[in-house]
Symmetry: C2
Subunit: 205 residues, 2 copies
DNA sequence: TTACTGCTGTGATTTCTGTCACATTGTGAG
DNA sequence: CTCACAATGTGACAGAAATCACAGCAGTAA
């Protein structure tokens, strides 16, 4: 896979550095890319596939924050990288994914030397911050039914298809809810002709 | 007020630019500094007082995100400024406050020229992102009683004193809850000897 | 003082969500 | 086909929080 077409704006010198120093890694669906508490040694740039970023608490609760698709980077890994902190989130490959790992030590230099990199980082911050804001909005102001609709819509947008191939249990985990609640709400949505339910698959209408 | 002592790390050239181009503004407690949907023309740097950053939704619901104290900047205004977007949050002075307004146009240049400014911006991003993460944690994983305790603790930390001079109604607004719920939970906390309740004031023990 | 207003306390009721229990159904391994 | 198991459907119940209703209380202005 030629990653350069994902970042046409990057200038030659920057591309050269990345080619020389960054490592491309493959992850299978389900693989953990970054774990809560782990020390961050590189910034992750998604080239292919889909990566799920979520928060985990001590009692085993999970909470989905957002997805990263091709051309997107993990703001947390950038922030941590720049300050050598440990991760506060989990990153897991939702599909088989290709990720470019850029060593921490390069970040500072790249930020200073390459305007396009600097712009990319700023843009990444803004993007993730905005997504986090809409997550806050949802859990602060919305009930589970609306949050579920938002979840499904976001999923189809990110995955680029109208079907959601996951179980009710997984959705419940992502929303930090319970399977029964999700099943019931989905049934109601089916009665309103918003979705069609199948086994391990939900069709958005 | 001499703002320079708040930012001892800033290099001379940077200080000079800020002195020349930035405008210092005073706000009274309760004044709105930035409003949802407003176009952002400058980055806000708090010199004195306390500024409350919160989210508002269309039905009049509010939700406190965090406070800014002396030496802190609004990450949202930086992000928006750098990309000329409109604000997605509300900023209100909680106490009488002094705020340094740095025009948007200078940001790019300052980021490139002054390493200490660049570091300050990065540090601001990380700080706000972290706070937003802990906000998400709280509403996603905690019940109202724990959220209330967190709220009171954070308030006293930010205000630098053990008393909270606001009404139950205001707390309810900040937590997007209702006055009765907060009153009841506070009563329970009083029975556990965690607080002492007064009119318009709560004493943290 | 009296009257008014805003803050606080508290019970009753309802809604939403989480939890438990168990039935049913789809699917793949053998 | 049959068995095992995972996914889903559903009723009953519990608990947290929102809402409604109203009473008491503190401070303030006249």
């Amino acid at each position: 896979m030629n990653w350069k077409q994902l970042f046409p704006q990057f200038e030659p010198g920057l591309i050269e550095i990345i080619e020389k120093e960054a490592v491309q890694r493959s992850f299978n669906a389900g693989d953990i890319i970054m774990r809560t508490g782990q020390y961050i040694k590189s910034t992750a740039l998604v080239l292919e596939g889909r990566v799920k970023i979520y928060r985990e608490n001590q009692d085993g609760g999970e909470f989905l924050m957002y997805y990263l698709g091709p051309g997107q980077a993990c703001a947390v890994s950038m922030i941590c990288a720049l300050q050598s902190h440990t991760s506060e989130i989990m990153a897991v490959a939702e599909e088989d994914s290709e990720v470019l790992m850029i060593p921490v030590q390069l970040m500072d230099d790249m930020m200073n030397k390459y305007k396009t990199w600097y712009q990319f980082v700023i843009q990444t911050y803004r993007g993730r911050f905005d997504e986090l804001l809409s997550v806050v909005d949802n859990i602060a102001f919305r009930n589970m039914d609306e949050r579920l609709e938002f979840y499904l819509k976001r999923y189809t947008e990110k995955a680029g298809k109208k079907t959601i191939d996951i179980s009710h249990q997984q959705i419940a985990d992502d929303l930090n809810s319970s399977r029964e609640v999700i099943s019931r709400l989905l049934k109601k949505m089916e009665q309103r002709n918003l979705v069609k339910l199948h086994r391990n698959m939900i069709e958005l209408l």
